[in-house]
């Protein structure tokens, strides 16, 4: 097969503790150097927490695997300083087209709104993405990446976890105050703890073929039901960087996975899709089935599960890695505060509550897509086909066509960390919602709101065209000087040259957050709204801040 990427080989470097036969207690050990584990490591390092990352292998993801990365995950990576590289390398897209037979049923635009820093989606091979994350992690003195280090057992003690780690030099013990298991859908940590991973396994098989070719297709997601080149099954086309294209063919449950992976089976399918005269080479082929499953809770004592080890979805909707990264985003600031003695341990239960809610939402969406793409009964198929038929002429039916509801971030509606609204606000920025972006000017430089939400608590005070009242500034300065990491900004309509000013140059902040002069937003370190008011109230703000850290 053709290779557009040469896999790095990371060397095993024996740790001091293994070489000297000593046992060290680390604040945090992350198991698994995939997208989720590396994101967590980078975020810990940003917060000054040293972290050991153990990975059983010595390279990045083999095969392109997860290809679609959504806005929210990219915003997290952008906060961690690696988003730009991914977006620059990736294929930016936002248009999806759905075909039935040889007719287009409808098309959708994932980011119809202007003025966001980060695009709706990029396509990027997982190996590139992991390569960027590893490169960034290697720059940090606080991240200790250990390759060829396989965790073979995990034992929870009262105040720490003991891991037995197998390396080329043998087995040794590693102790950690906290362990984050990011070891994927087949998580061995989950098995060691004997935890049930419950849900649904779907009876269908899909073929992934990544091909290298020069083609003129646009950077869009094309999905077919019953295409002429692959009758009675679905197919998907996605552009990746380096002239690599992701093709996905539904095969049905009876297909033989080993047989279907053979080039002599794959090539005719690809030729039928692309036309016999389009030259291409296969880069990667895989046959997969899928499941929608999750752990009941993501926290088990001092072991926390994040990413596919905690929840697994079907690929339709790109909700796998795109929900794993927000897991890390949600967990790391909480654990950093707990380690620092600034928040009680039960704050970590809110990690489980919030991310279980997100997993439920993702599983629901992914299951519904799967039921549409792979109807489970004759009647289900009849309704599905009826929807597709009606969708050509009737707009209502287009809304029912489900070829994957693409990943969007979860609003933590019922989170105990939210302070419920006392004042009336319009729009989507309810407590628990992920903050939406807006262009702003900071220190005279054009930038974005998301850049100001830098991993600390952030208070936005809408100053309108007036000044920030002295008592408000004093109270906010006092909070910023307090024990919790916090920064505050005065949102102004036009540049006034005051300290800590965010100029709402396009008026989008006012519009998207329904700001009126005097409005206040408290935003969490993971860029979710915690509370908001129409008028500044020092006591209410302090109470909301305490509530957001579980105090």
């Amino acid at each position: 097969m053709h290779a557009t990427f040469s896999y790095p080989k990371y060397s095993f470097i024996p740790s001091d503790e293994q070489r000297t036969g000593t046992i060290r207690r680390h604040p945090v050990v992350v198991i698994g150097a995939g997208p989720v584990g590396l994101t967590a490591a980078l975020d810990f390092a940003r917060k000054g927490v040293p972290v050991v990352v153990l990975d059983a292998e010595d390279t990045v993801s083999v095969g392109s695997r997860a290809v679609c990365y959504a806005k929210r995950a990219l915003e997290v990576w952008d906060r961690l300083g690696v988003g730009r590289r991914m977006i620059d390398k990736g294929v930016v897209w936002k248009i999806g087209k759905v075909f039935n037979g040889d007719r287009m049923v409808y098309q959708f635009d994932l980011l119809p709104e202007p003025d966001h820093k980060i695009p709706a989606f990029i396509n990027l091979q997982q190996y590139h993405l992991e390569d960027f994350l590893v490169t960034e992690a290697l720059k940090s003195d606080l991240i200790d990446l250990r390759w060829l280090s396989r965790v073979v057992s995990a034992r929870q003690e009262a105040d720490h976890v003991v891991l037995q780690v197998e390396t080329p030099d043998g087995v040794h013990a590693v102790e950690a105050d906290w362990v984050i298991a990011c070891d994927g859908a087949k998580s061995s940590v989950r098995k060691m703890l004997g935890l049930e991973f419950q849900g649904e396994v779907f009876k269908d098989r899909f073929l992934i073929a990544d091909v290298v070719m020069k083609a003129d297709f646009p950077a869009e997601r094309w999905f077919w039901f019953d295409p002429p080149f692959h009758r009675k099954q679905s197919a998907l086309l996605h552009m990746q960087p380096d002239n690599v294209w992701r093709l996905d063919f539904q095969l049905g449950w009876d297909a033989d996975p080993e047989e279907e992976k053979r080039p002599e089976r794959v090539i005719p399918r690809v030729q039928a899709m692309l036309g016999a005269d389009t030259p291409f080479e296969l880069e990667w082929v895989s046959v997969y089935t899928f499941q929608c499953r999750r752990l009941e809770r993501f926290r088990h004592g001092r072991i926390l599960f994040a990413g596919d080890s905690a929840h697994q979805v079907s690929p339709f909707g790109a909700r796998g890695a795109n929900s794993g990264v927000p897991d890390a985003d949600n967990l790391v600031w909480k654990l950093a505060l707990v380690l620092d003695g600034k928040a009680p341990e039960w704050l970590l239960d809110s990690y489980s509550d919030e991310r279980v809610a997100a997993a439920r939402e993702n599983i629901l969406n992914s299951t519904r897509s799967t039921d549409f793409i792979t109807p489970k009964s004759e009647m289900s198929r009849i309704f599905r086909d009826a929807v597709l038929e009606l969708a050509v002429d009737h707009p209502f039916a287009r809304a029912l066509v489900n070829s994957g509801r693409l990943s969007t971030p979860t609003t933590y509606t019922d989170s105990p960390l939210n302070t419920p609204d006392g004042d009336a606000f319009a729009g989507r920025m309810v407590p628990g919602a992920p903050a939406t972006d807006a262009p702003v000017e900071r220190d005279g430089q054009p930038g974005w709101l998301m850049e100001a939400l830098d991993g600390r608590f952030t208070v936005l005070y809408a100053a309108g065209d007036g000044a920030v009242p002295a008592e408000v500034a004093e109270a906010l300065d006092a909070l910023a000087a307090g024990p919790l990491p916090l920064v505050w900004y005065a949102v102004t309509g036009r540049r006034r040259g005051i300290a800590g000013e965010l100029v709402d140059c396009a008026g989008r902040l006012r519009e998207r957050y329904d700001l009126t002069p005097g409005s206040v937003y408290l935003i969490r370190p993971d860029q979710h709204v915690a509370a908001r008011w129409r008028r500044f109230d020092d006591a209410a703000l302090s109470a909301a801040l305490n509530r957001a850290v579980g105090r």
């Binding site: 009647m379 009849i382 309704f383 086909d385 009826a386 929807v387 038929e389 009606l390 009737h394 209502f396 039916a397 029912l400």
Partner: protein
Amino acid sequence: MAKLMTEQRFASPDDVYQLLIDGHRELTPDQSTRLNAKLILLLANHIGDAEVLAEALRVARQGVD
């Protein structure tokens, strides 16, 4: 909240019944099933109320299994 109406609402019930029967004329059972599916989707959207649809499904299901 809208409620499923089950009292008689047609000006001419026999005409409506005949419309349904005529609409399926000369169709095989498979074709009729397809037609019914499209009809249900069109009418469900026309009603535009998931609660009414849920109630109709509940009533329709009685005695079926």
